[in-house]
């Protein structure tokens, strides 16, 4: 009789890395559609360009590291990183911005630390932070969403021309505007109800367009939860702590208000972070209780930096700060070993 020499586990699901990564990319689709609708084709062009850059960088590093090229390119992890950065970039970000961000994420944040599975920091968040602190002007020039008074959503060709100005600077008439999060933060002495006017960047619950983008990512995230790709602990803890913080420090709609809880939940990259960025299994805490702490930390940090910090949104910073804490959390929050009761914990030394 021929016995296969394989070690446990003997049951295999078909959730290998590439399958998981493909589903993650697929799940960004509702949010992507909302982004394209409200901000134009530039989002899609950015995304595709980010994919090209990511595959190029991945191939380059894998080649230098003398590893099998096909194996690494087929795991789709570089594409996930590129997708997250591409979705977070302003719609008409110049092509070199994507190259710097994605290149930094793949080469330095991922491969210099040992490649997929060994990176302590979320590559997408690192790439985004590098861009944000190096090129603040380019990174904050968002277009007003479709539906805001005076907004011009550029068509496909115009977007292409302004992202890749191959033949000199082709003038494309667009107006850039601060994002709703920024506008709510920078309102000298005004009350929230004074800036929340019809035709302004503010819509029903949050920014015009942004609320639908966030709902889109929420739908994608629920799909990932349903397919058991991600654990529920991180998004629930993150959104819960953000909700709690924004309830406690709400301050109404006067001049001291910091925005309603719903505004914070549906603004900026909240949902993208909760389901797609913070849930990265490599850089998050490893146990269930640890994930709760990790997620809650991100939520609190997002609110603190948004309201009292210098940046309008804080998703990437919060994720990186909690990436720092993940090993510490794992050290103090160790799950009970199977077969041991809770009381064994104190008596048994280090056996």
């Amino acid at each position: 009789m021929k016995l296969a020499k394989v070690t446990s586990p003997h049951l295999h699901g078909n959730n290998d890395t590439s399958q998981v990564m493909k589903l993650v990319i697929l799940a960004t689709l509702p949010g992507l559609i909302a982004l394209v609708w409200f901000f134009g084709w530039g989002v899609l062009i950015n995304l595709l360009w980010a994919w090209v850059v990511a595959l190029g960088c991945e191939a380059l590093v894998v080649k230098i590291r003398k590893r099998p090229l096909g194996y690494y390119l087929n795991d789709y992890s570089a594409l996930v990183t590129a997708t997250l950065i591409g979705l977070a970039l302003p719609p008409l970000a110049p092509w070199w911005l994507t190259v710097v961000g994605v290149g930094f994420a793949i080469i330095i944040a991922k491969h210099l630390y040992g490649g997929l599975g060994s990176n302590p920091f979320n590559p997408a968040a690192v790439g985004y932070v590098v861009l944000l602190i190096s090129f603040p002007v380019e990174m904050s020039s968002w277009l007003p969403a479709r539906g805001v008074e005076g907004a011009i959503t550029p068509g496909f060709l115009d977007s292409l021309k302004s992202i890749f100005p191959l033949f000199g600077n082709v003038g494309v008439d667009v107006i850039t505007q601060a994002t709703p999060l920024d506008q709510l933060k920078q309102r000298p002495g005004l009350t929230i109800s004074e800036i929340w006017l019809p035709g302004s960047a503010f819509g029903r619950f949050a920014g015009v367009g942004w609320e639908w983008v966030n709902i889109g990512f929420l739908i994608g995230g629920l799909f990932l939860l349903f397919r058991k790709i991600i654990y529920w602990q991180i998004p629930v803890a993150m959104l819960g702590s953000l909700l709690l913080m924004s309830l406690i420090f709400w301050g109404g709609s006067g001049s001291e208000g910091h925005g309603s809880p719903l505004f914070h939940l549906l603004s900026g990259a909240t949902m993208l972070c909760a389901f797609f960025i913070a849930t990265d299994p490599v850089t998050a805490a490893a146990s269930h209780r640890g994930r709760l702490i990790y997620g809650a930390g991100i939520g609190v940090l997002i609110y603190v930096i948004r309201v009292w910090g210098n940046y309008p949104d804080a998703v990437a910073f919060s994720v990186l700060l909690m990436n720092f804490c993940a090993p510490l959390i794992d050290h103090y929050v160790q799950p009970r070993t199977y077969g041991h009761s809770k009381n064994d914990h104190d008596k048994s030394g280090d056996s």
Binding site: I108, L112, V130, I133, S134, F135
Partner: protein, 260 residues
């Protein structure tokens, strides 16, 4: 970097040169001291000493060169002085004595910079007085200068300082080129005749702020250390390959007959 690479190569294929010095040291290998300071035991790349000033002021070439020269000057002279009094300063009092010597020399350098490069002195700020606390200087004083004759100690200080300064300048060049798109900008702060040395590496450059900020220093230094390790590995491999080459002909040991 170029010079340090070359000096490293010299070390690889040269025999130890023995030179007789003063009576208390039978042999001093000047080449060994030089290659240790510049490459093998480079303060910044191998010993990782003095990282605080290295990371903090390497934002541009002129800052890096200014601090590098100041450190080199203090290191050379402190090694010389420490070596001169090495028989008088015994075990119990040696550390306070060394620190006072270094502090006095640092004050001299500080006053010199105030006199001749005042703007650079203001830019470098606290990092000039902080040369006192640079671990390379006390380290070399204790580990080398207090056990060796004056000239040898001074050479060691000079070479260690030069190795440190070269890394500082290399890091400064990387960060300035990446961060601002220029090289040797404002060199007249240090050298009055170097006002027109500025090279624009990239025209219409919008600046890459990260390279100027602290993370840029860490990443740049990490890459430089990786480069050094890579070069060393390659050299060791080539050396091993040369030595392992099988000797042609018979491998039997001849035990009988007349061996000429």
């Amino acid at each position: 970097m170029a010079t340090s690479v070359e000096s490293g190569k010299i070390e690889g294929d040269s025999e130890a040169v023995e030179l007789l010095d003063v009576a208390d040291t039978p042999s001093v290998d000047y080449k060994q001291i030089s290659s240790d300071g510049l490459w093998t035991k480079n303060a910044a790349l191998a010993q990782l000493l003095g990282l605080c000033p290295l990371l903090a002021v390497s934002g541009s070439v002129v800052n890096a060169l200014g601090l590098g020269l100041a450190t080199m000057l203090v290191l050379t002279s402190s090694n010389l002085v420490v070596s001169l009094i090495r028989h008088q300063a015994n075990e119990t009092i040696r550390l306070p004595v060394f620190v006072m010597i270094i502090a006095a020399l640092t004050t001299c350098v500080e006053l010199l910079m105030q006199a001749f490069a005042y703007e650079l002195y203001q830019i470098l700020g606290i990092f000039i007085p902080l040369i006192v606390t640079n671990c390379i200087i006390l380290g070399r004083a204790d580990a080398f200068a207090s056990k060796n004759p004056p000239l040898v100690a001074a050479l060691d200080g000079f070479m260690m300082g030069a190795g440190f300064a070269l890394v500082l300048v290399a890091l400064g060049m990387i960060r300035e080129a990446l961060g601002l798109g220029t090289l040797f900008a404002n060199m007249d702060l240090l050298l009055p005749f170097a006002g027109n040395w500025e090279i624009t590496v990239i025209h219409d450059y919008s600046g890459f702020l990260l390279a100027i900020l602290p993370p840029g220093a860490f990443i740049g230094l990490g890459l430089l250390i990786a480069l050094k390790n890579n070069i060393d590995d390659n050299r060791a491999q080539r050396k091993a390959a040369r030595e392992d080459a099988p000797i042609a002909g018979s491998k039997r040991v001849r035990v009988t007959g007349n061996i000429s």
